[in-house]
Symmetry: C2
Subunit: 112 residues, 2 copies
DNA sequence: TACATATATACGAATATACGCAAATAAATA
DNA sequence: TATTTATTTGCGTATATTCGTATATATGTA
């Protein structure tokens, strides 16, 4: 249960919830998240560090950028994120993030 | 999104998660929860107060006892609890609570 | 090498959280 | 009314969380 409680602690911050929902759609580097979420870089970076520390995301440097990937192996946690995403129309902030994500034209270069 | 984040904040404490999972099965009074969860009464009471303050449970006095009911109208929140319950075998603490709940023989008297 | 860009981190301030213990309140009963 | 049982609450303590700002680190490029 501890891991599940830890997961909920992670989700109990709006910034981290938004990050996880975005990474559910696609891997993103820090500056892409800053732009999409309209948040400062240290703020995003700090929350990503927490997410990485508990293993819910993983990072991969590609040149100048560090890309973050959702890393949920747990089926319960995965289903929780899916439930939120499939009800995104009920959460304006999340919906707006996803909209900016979809409308984004300039992406940092992925190697793979 | 705020309400959802608030919900996760509630779930990010093991005691409250256990309470919600129990109340998902049946309404319970404070002393029944104390016995099932093997926790002190002030501890349970304080967490119930938080849950009531944010509206996730409601209370109803019946004589000497105050019974608490799960009060989740939100479909996303409901589904999250359902997901946890239907995977309870993966969470020993929750499973043990439910087991003690099922084996319980003496109940405080319900009026309705 | 010098500089720009991307990312992480240190630090201090403000705030929140959980807990144990003791005491207060409320209802039931002798 | 006095007592017991059920529940809540006040208080002090320890700890955790978030944020902004400034700075450090790492990589790419001129």
């Amino acid at each position: 249960m501890d891991k599940l409680v830890e997961f909920f602690k992670v989700l109990s911050d709006g910034t981290r919830l938004r990050i996880l929902v975005l990474l559910f759609h696609k891997e993103l580097c820090v500056c892409e998240m800053c732009e999409i979420m309209e948040e400062t870089q240290p703020k995003i970076s700090r929350h990503l560090a927490k997410l990485r520390d508990v293993g819910f995301v993983r990072d991969e440097r590609q040149g100048q950028w560090i890309f973050y990937y959702l890393n949920l192996d747990d089926i319960v946690m995965k289903r929780i994120i899916e439930t939120i995403v499939s009800n995104k129309e009920r959460y304006p902030v999340l919906q707006k993030d996803i909209q900016r994500f979809c409308l984004k034209t300039k992406w940092c270069e992925r190697k793979n």
